[in-house]
Assembly symmetry: C2
Homo-oligomer: 178 residues x 2
């Protein structure tokens, strides 16, 4: 894959359409990956993303401890892996090995990029004040990577109970919106 740096000011174009993502974390020898759909852009630049991680989870513990993570965006090619990651806890299993996801070193954080994902956003935990009430982790994107060969990624969009809408055609309309 031709993984290239991607402008921080355009990160919202990756997150705003609502794809399912794989969030990776690492702390010391421990690492994990979780499937996540509940997130929104909060600011264009520096890009801030609010990710909702409710309840107790291994990823949440690692994120709180390390204050870092990577948001990786998969496409339909690895849909089965995405669902398997979502169905499994990482507390006693290395999900990277079990489901054949290849961790790659990131630039600014210890959490790994996932080689099988077309985009990866290295993030630092910027605000935890909304965690207790809503499970919202505010993440600042420090570095974005995108496979520049992928123009219209066939991302996954969760419709519940294992049903996923796969990104279809792209249309262009005259807009003054960013």
């Amino acid at each position: 894959m031709s993984r290239k740096p991607f402008p921080l000011a355009k990160v919202y174009t990756l997150i705003e359409p609502g794809p399912v993502v794989l969030l990776t974390t690492a702390q010391g020898e421990r690492r994990n990956v979780m499937t996540l759909s509940w997130k929104t852009m909060l600011e264009f630049e520096p890009p801030l993303i609010g990710c909702v991680i409710g309840g107790q989870s291994y990823s949440r513990d690692l994120l709180m401890a390390s204050k870092e993570c990577v948001i990786n965006i998969p496409t339909v090619d690895i849909a089965k892996k995405v669902v398997s990651v979502g169905n499994t806890t990482g507390a006693r299993t290395d999900k990277f090995k079990r489901f054949g996801l290849t961790p790659l070193p990131a630039r600014f954080v210890h959490a790994p990029l996932i080689d099988e994902c077309y985009a990866s956003l290295e993030c630092r935990l910027a605000d935890t004040r909304m965690v207790a009430k809503y499970g919202i982790f505010v993440l600042e994107v420090l570095q974005a990577w995108v496979d520049s060969a992928v123009k219209d990624p066939r991302t996954l969009h969760h419709r519940g109970y294992g049903r996923f809408m796969v990104a279809g055609e792209t249309i262009k309309l005259r807009s003054r919106m960013k």
Copy 2:
């Protein structure tokens, strides 16, 4: 359209895939509609949705004053209207009349449903504590309506600068996830 009540516990299946929405507000004789992409589910039931409305806007004023709104979900059939709404302020224009959107009375709130949208969620403003810092309005869905004839809605997903991904095929994978 055969607009039917939709179970509150399944509202997340409408919002989670990340569609662009039209948010309507009303206060006294004033009403407005805005285009919005930055939002996330926060809780399954009662359904809570965090909508990001940054900066000053007419819709934000009406939402703060009335503490109510409706989240309407359009499909590609009215894509041009969706973009036009996003390009225009409602402070001096009735965008419903100007762009041919039909307001219908809601059940619990004064803000209108939009007849041209396949789904509408009547909401009350539940928490404003994250408005100052992040523009996050926490909305509780009181009543959901869906056109029961629409199975795989061709929703719009903003990729920036007037480019929209249109919802494609739906795939089903075995999942223990909700």
